[in-house]
């Protein structure tokens, strides 16, 4: 079904109208030019005839000339020749309303006849010669010439309209398919994709882009669903603990000291839940790519040194040590608060789950490596370890939200880098090595 509200027929109609208008304007202009050129041509013919007759007059005299004029008159041809005596008396030929003693070219409009083009001259001896010819043939020729473009243009406009409607049909079909697919997605069928033909034209390119967008949306929605499940699963237990504890306290006889203890531990538990929420929101924001507008150029060497300095005494107090090898003057583009938090999380992890000396290295690339001498993470669990709330079996009892590594991964991804987990060395205590790679500065 073709409606005028669709693009192609509207376009075709516009093209047709423009073609037609242009053709008529062109025809008018062509008619004027053709008429002018033909008349000039006619004037040359008249001048040549007049010259021939003059030569006749010089050779054969008035008699010869009037004989020649008679011939023209008898021929009733396109040329009229008129001879008038010096007194205006008609010697030969016939032209009603002919002017007396015409000099040079003129256009005559005899009453009741077609307009004539005439050339008048006075011959030696005072005889007036007038040569004239019908103008209507010239006008007819000019008109015939002028009609050619509008006829061609009209045909072109018809073809344009026809093609436009054909095109509209094809467009309508392809767009309707796309429209249908888009509506299906809107209705909740997120796996639906726009149809692509094999033509590889601009519609296919558009469909391809939109399909990529839909794939991204589908992945994001799946992720949100996953997060919601994770949140529900992992927050339910601390919340129900809290509820049980408060309910038990409420059922007990009032005792200020015991109540205070319960309230204090409840607030502590709530703070833990809120910390989990804050971490989840940060991960969500980092994964959604928001926060990139706050990126600045920063001195990574100073940033890593600052965080390491904050943790060195903590490691010492825990009977461990922190060893740093930092390349100086390394810059990066990013968010200082987020990178600081990512690095602090790595160090928190190394302190809580690792063992021995913690090595912090900053190398050009830039890359930041934090490694320890503990049990590490088994290769098959590394991918899972980055997921939200995932905790290795042996770390179930240590404090932490289970969000550290996924936050680090999200922050690094936001920066366009990668988080690589591997064994720091071989042996029974391989140690975990976590490397954050960041993209190099564009001008470096």
């Amino acid at each position: 079904m073709i409606r005028l509200r669709s693009f192609a027929p509207r376009m075709a109609l516009a093209v047709a109208v423009v073609v037609l208008v242009a053709c008529f304007l062109g025809a008018g202009w062509g008619w004027l030019r053709a008429q002018e050129a033909l008349r000039r041509q006619l004037d040359l013919v008249l001048a040549a005839e007049a010259e021939g007759l003059l030569r006749d007059y010089e050779t054969y005299g008035l008699r010869g000339l009037s004989e020649a004029a008679e011939v023209y008159t008898r021929r009733r041809g396109p040329l009229l020749v008129l001879l008038q005596g010096p007194d205006g008396r008609l010697i030969s030929g016939a032209l009603p309303g002919a002017p007396q003693a015409l000099r040079g070219f003129a256009t005559l409009r005899p009453p009741g006849g077609a307009p004539l083009r005439a050339l008048g001259a006075v011959l030696p001896g005072g005889v007036n010669l007038l040569v004239a010819t019908d103008l209507s043939s010239v006008d007819r020729a000019a008109l015939a010439l002028a009609w050619t473009p509008p006829v061609a243009g009209g045909l072109a406009a018809l073809v344009a309209l026809g093609l436009g409607f054909l095109l509209a049909n094809r467009l309508e079909r392809r767009l309707a398919a796309m429209n249908g697919a888009a509506r299906a997605v809107m209705a909740g069928d997120l796996a639906r994709r726009l149809p692509e033909s094999s033509a590889g034209d601009e519609f296919d390119r558009l469909a391809e882009t939109i399909n990529e967008m839909l794939a991204r949306i589908e992945a994001l929605v799946a992720e949100v669903r996953q997060v919601t499940d994770d949140v529900a699963h992992d927050l339910r237990s601390p919340l129900s603990h809290l509820r049980q504890r408060l309910e038990a306290a409420l059922a007990r006889a009032r005792d200020p000291a015991a109540d205070e203890a319960v309230l204090e531990s409840s607030v502590a538990e709530l703070d833990g839940i809120l910390a989990t929420f804050a971490a989840l929101l940060r991960i969500a924001r980092a994964e959604a790519g928001t926060g990139r507008e706050g990126f600045t150029r920063l001195d990574l060497s100073a940033l890593v040194a600052g965080v390491a300095e904050a943790y060195a005494p903590v490691a010492e107090e825990a009977g461990r040590s922190l060893d740093t090898v930092l390349a100086p003057g390394i810059a990066a583009t990013g968010s200082a608060p987020l990178l600081r938090q990512a690095l602090a999380n790595l160090l928190d992890n190394a302190l809580a789950h690792g063992a021995g000396t913690i090595h912090v290295a900053l190398r050009p690339g830039p890359e930041i490596e934090v490694s320890d001498e503990g049990p590490g993470i088994p290769a098959e669990e590394r991918e899972m370890a980055v997921r939200r709330f995932y905790r290795l079996d042996r770390s179930r009892t240590t404090p932490g939200t289970g969000l550290g590594l996924s936050l680090i991964a999200a922050v690094v991804r936001l920066h366009g880098g990668a988080l690589i987990l591997r064994d720091a060395r071989q042996g029974p205590m391989p140690g975990l090595s976590a490397t954050l790679t960041l993209p190099p500065l564009p001008d470096a």
Partner: protein, 227 residues
């Protein structure tokens, strides 16, 4: 101290206002941006606490309007948890401090006090002193009762911040933000470790303790109590 609290959540506003009043402060409460801005422009306050999201002009608009009118009252912006990473935006708009909701009341109280007692011109100072503790900011030297105290750069920054707020409770979160630029709480006890090291250095000559731990809140640096 006069405090203006602009908060559209009536229950939360009542809770905070009650706590501050019990603390001996005079509190005016506005429940929307329009009333808040009117009060802020026409009354004099020592500290303004405003929610970031408000009906009418929001917290940041109020902040910009105040700063544009050359009113430099310290402003603390409260923000929802989801906006924790947008504190830079608020600080750029002229906020003096930023606190994410939900917060512990002790945290808010500590921050309000730190804001209210902020010295007007810090640039002039070359030396800080609390009791017999002296800090030379130019030569970066610290002495306790004349005895030189050797500090690491972080410990120096920590002590400097505490000496600028003597007698005030400084929470762990405040210290993390101001001294380490950490806009988050690490799971390890970074602050406690640094404070206890600093404390040991300050008392190495057998002097009386100056850094007091306030349970559940934070730390106070003050003149030692006799005895």
């Amino acid at each position: 101290m006069r405090i203006l609290l602009i908060e559209d959540d009536v229950a939360a506003a009542d809770y905070v206002a009650k706590g501050l009043t019990e603390d001996g402060q005079v509190v005016d409460v506005a429940h929307n941006g329009k009333d808040g801005l009117f009060l802020a422009l026409n009354e004099r306050y020592d500290v303004i606490v405003t929610d970031r999201m408000l009906p009418g002009p929001d917290g940041l608009s109020i902040l910009r309007a105040l700063r544009a009118s050359a009113i430099n009252t310290p402003v603390l912006v409260l923000t929802a948890l989801a906006e924790v990473d947008r504190r830079v935006e608020g600080l750029e708009a002229g906020a003096d401090d930023y606190l994410a909701k939900p917060f512990a009341f002790s945290e808010l109280r500590a921050r309000i006090r730190a804001l209210a007692r902020r010295p007007a011109a810090q640039a002039e100072e070359h030396e800080l002193s609390v009791a017999d503790l002296r800090m030379d900011l130019l030569r970066r030297r610290v002495t306790r009762a004349g005895r030189p105290v050797e500090l690491l750069p972080t410990e120096f920054r920590l002590l400097e911040y505490m000496m600028r707020h003597p007698g005030e409770v400084l929470t762990r979160t405040m210290l993390l933000e101001k001294v380490w630029d950490f806009a988050f709480d690490p799971t390890t006890n970074v602050v406690d470790v640094h404070v206890s090291r600093l404390r040991r250095k300050l008392e190495a000559g057998g002097e009386a303790p100056m850094i007091r731990t306030v349970r559940g809140a934070g730390y106070v640096l003050a003149e030692p109590h006799p005895g």
